[in-house]
Point group: C2
Chain length 557, copies 2
């Protein structure tokens, strides 16, 4: 019996110290479970990187111990890297019915649906996975069928909050099950892992219903078309739009693949009632402006998104005209401000009215603010508290909040980041050896991982371009054959192309001559090429101050 047998390890693989790609590992004895497998949208899109996933190396190394992946809800930052994880470690997946319905087509795209075991779990149900007994507890959030998990092990219970707010009056589905959280708390909770996203916002986050009055006023005033763009996963918001459509006698046109798909799934799983108001995008043209409301995806101004294409007049089925109203019913994800501004500029060129969340109460966050976070801590009353989901600033402030406002002792609140290992034995908590976590970059066009070296090379190429020098040498003598060939891409010379290229040719010639003919061949091609590279690098740096990528190419004849 080794140390693992009586300890519980909590190992965040992603989402702590960074926003996105949430993934939490629990190990008790020889049993590992994984909570969520999320994705982070890339900040390095210029370099062919679309997203990042957690580093699953730890799970690959202990593949025989991994019992299951348990999903808390269906947002990208909780399910997006699931296909990449399953390709490495094929284990059963548990999640609520709506969550799994969102996951299914995703797995199909990756040809994983046939080989993956999907186990639906309803809120309130408990599943046994290895040494873990996991109860799904309903929480409120901006999408539907979301749960916290109460995970019972032989040494105690860990509660993972998922993403949540205390919404007593959600539009779709049941409210957060505060009673059940309190009951779990009364039974005794060893550790709570709780979402920190909105710890910097004071007060309580309002219910999803808070946006109804402002949207109602917009519907009341609008005479032309109404375009509502929101996240396709915001099912409460979408239900509100359907309700208002019925109230104001409009049909609902869903535009955008994600929007159409999520509406279909939400209706099929019983969370959305479209009340026969949904009409196909191809019928958009048959309606008068005042007869429809369009639900469009692409609220972040994505260049291929439905909302942009409608505004840009490049959508095949839907368009906007002077007098229409555009409602951007979402937050601006940091980094998307410029794309959203471009979308608004484009809308105004059509002389429509644009209403965003700075002008009217048409958006509310699904993540609890300080009072929600307090309610979670007070319901669960854990012995140890680990803030999760946030950059260091959110985790730090969540810890401060627990200590200063709720009186937690600082040694009971563990401020840990992805790769840290928390070891619990039922009585004490300590940090184990940190595990190595690398960045994993994904190119969506081929679903392949890109390594750091490749990305570093691309960044260098982008920054100052590339200078390529080709020479041909005779194998028998090491003599140079013909003049060196020089070409550049994206490289800024100082004296105009022709002159500088001639100069670079001279540099290469001099460098070739500086090396005895025999050494050019016998020293190996790498040695010769490196010699040429250094000569060019020194010259270019001295003359221009630039540091382009330099590629020497020796053809041996």
């Amino acid at each position: 019996m080794n140390a693992h047998d009586t300890t519980l390890e909590i190992i965040p693989l992603g989402g702590l110290g960074e926003f996105g790609m949430n993934c939490m590992v629990l190990r008790y004895g020889a049993d590992i479970i994984v909570i969520d497998a999320g994705l982070m949208f890339s900040e390095v899109g210029h370099f062919g990187v679309d997203s990042m996933t957690p580093d699953f190396t730890f799970l690959e190394r202990h593949r025989e111990q991994v019992r299951a992946v348990l999903l808390t809800h269906s947002h990208e930052d909780h399910i997006g890297s699931l296909p990449f994880l399953l390709k490495k470690v094929n284990v059963p997946v548990y999640g609520t019915p709506y969550t799994l319905s969102i996951v299914e087509p995703r797995l199909e795209e990756h040809h994983l649906l046939a080989t993956t075991q999907l186990h639906p779990v309803r809120a309130g149900e408990t599943v046994e996975v290895g040494a873990f007994s996991v109860e799904y507890i309903r929480v409120s959030h901006s999408t539907v069928d979301c749960c916290a998990l109460a995970i019972t092990t032989p040494i105690g219970t860990v509660v993972h909050s998922g993403d949540f707010k205390f919404d007593a009056t959600p539009v779709c589905g049941d409210a957060i099950d505060v009673e059940r959280l309190r009951a779990v708390g009364r039974r005794g909770v060893l550790a709570l892992l709780s979402d920190s996203t909105n710890i910097e916002r004071p007060g309580q986050m309002p219910s999803e219903r808070v946006v109804i009055p402002a949207l109602e006023e917009i519907f009341d005033r609008a005479t032309g078309r109404i375009f509502v763009s929101c996240f396709a996963s915001s099912i409460h918001r979408i239900q509100i739009v359907f309700d208002l459509a019925r109230q104001f006698g409009r049909q609902v046109v869903a535009v955008g693949r994600a929007m159409e798909r999520n509406i279909e799934i939400a209706e099929r799983t019983g969370f959305l009632d479209t009340a026969d108001l949904l009409v196909s995008a191809k019928d958009f043209k048959h309606y008068e402006p005042g007869e429809t409301v369009v639900l469009a995806s692409g609220c972040q101004g994505e260049p291929m998104g439905a909302m942009w294409r409608i505004a840009d007049r490049s959508h095949r089925q839907a368009w906007m005209e002077a007098g229409d109203t555009v409602v951007l019913s979402a937050r601006q994800i940091p980094g998307n401000e410029k794309a959203i501004s471009r979308l608004i500029n484009r809308c105004y060129r059509n002389e429509v009215q644009v209403i965003d969340a700075t002008q009217a109460r048409i958006h509310v966050s699904g993540h609890g603010a300080q009072e929600d976070l307090r309610l979670m801590l007070e319901a669960v009353r854990p012995k140890y508290f680990i803030p999760i989901h946030g950059e260091y600033r959110q985790l730090y402030r969540h810890k401060l909040f627990a200590c200063q406002t709720l009186g937690y002792s600082p040694d009971r609140v563990l401020l840990v980041e992805s790769g840290d290992v928390v070891v619990l034995d039922g009585e004490t908590a300590r940090l184990g050896d940190k595990i190595t976590i690398n960045r994993v970059y994904i190119d969506d066009t081929c679903s392949l991982e890109l390594d750091e070296t490749l990305l570093r090379d691309r960044k260098r190429l982008a920054y100052e371009g590339v200078v390529i020098a080709g020479v041909a040498v005779e194998e028998s003598s090491g003599m140079l054959l013909g003049p060196p060939e020089i070409t550049t891409r994206g490289y800024l010379g100082v004296d105009g192309d022709e002159e500088e290229i001639a100069e670079l040719r001279d540099v290469v010639l001099a460098a070739v001559e500086a090396l005895p003919p025999a050494e050019r061949i016998n020293g190996g091609k790498e040695h010769f090429q490196e010699h040429l590279r250094l000569a060019l690098k020194r010259h270019i740096m001295r003359v221009t101050g630039q540091k382009p990528t330099i590629v020497p190419l020796v053809v041996v004849v």
Copy 2:
């Protein structure tokens, strides 16, 4: 006498339809004046671009007509491209004393100070430039010594607002000269060009003094060091910090080159009173935590900024410790959110308190909100109104505001963008032929312009890397000599390097063989290289779906 002789042309070269690089040209007869020459910080930093300037081609083409550049104030987006303009067209520069003092060291860096005529103009003074009589009128803004310009021509007066708000109680210098604006308005104004930056914000922008109570409370509570990071140009804010330092018995340490320089200039020109409280950064170490307040530049989290280096513990002279307070007294410029968040994360790792503008009223904008914009329009009462400084959304909403709220007839409000030409004859306004405006990208390391082709090449290299293929052919026979040489940088193959490179070598061999030996030489090297490039492109696209840059290099022996 041609048409120009009796018409006034208003030609924005930058800043209309985009934020930044403000530059407005006025031409009457054979006289051109330029109002401001600003810079736009780059969104394409990855590609070696630091900033963008307006396209000054129009001014180069009419260089003999250009009489002067008139600066409204000293912000980068109004003066930053002045060196680049002066290198193309060396004309006298007019501006207020503080503005010119900020401009001087800039010109020196570009070796332009000796050859540039700088003419200081105080608020209230009028200068004659060609056919134009230009009165400098004091306005309030976040920096000091800012002016609007009333430009009188034979056919009427044009008012250019500069950047402004109606601040009756600025901290430094005089308040906006509303009386003078009204007097100019009473005399009759042909056109007003007015700042649109904050048109989306209702109400009136508060005075610079509005931040005093919250800052006073921070000073009152702080026991450790206080770090205030703000824009180095925010002289009112800096004066407030000095005033609070005196009130609370602290010395002021200025850290960061921009901060030190601007404080020196503002004191020298009479806008700032440091009251002997300023101590050198090298003396930071001699003070107890409770004895100093540090004014640090780098409020946007710039990696080389003073604030980051202090937080990161990499600054040579200043540092922070648990118990200190960091005050980020600035707005987040869109695009900088991530860098600012990184700075806040880093600060919290030192266990300091961080206060930003979301938590306390420690920042106020220098740009007027809707009521300020209304006051400007009502004071000047122009015949024509041209919204300036903003993306299309701000210009559009400023037009709507003038029409819907102030009753302007839509044909009196001209919604124009950079490159448009407004032609006024004293009675009517019309749009002339648009002039061509290109993007001009600047690499700061060498102060050189980068062209669009170079940038496009860099973007392609960044996105999928580069594949390089070298072949040597005999000039006399066209025969291939030796095997083709293949190398890649930043390119993601599908089957591992060795195998794919062998495959690419085969593709090149086949492509060479497909071309008759004579054609390889006689068709010209470009023809041969393009033939190889297409063969590689087709193969790579088919096998991997990737589109790297492909560079074939033929060495003729």
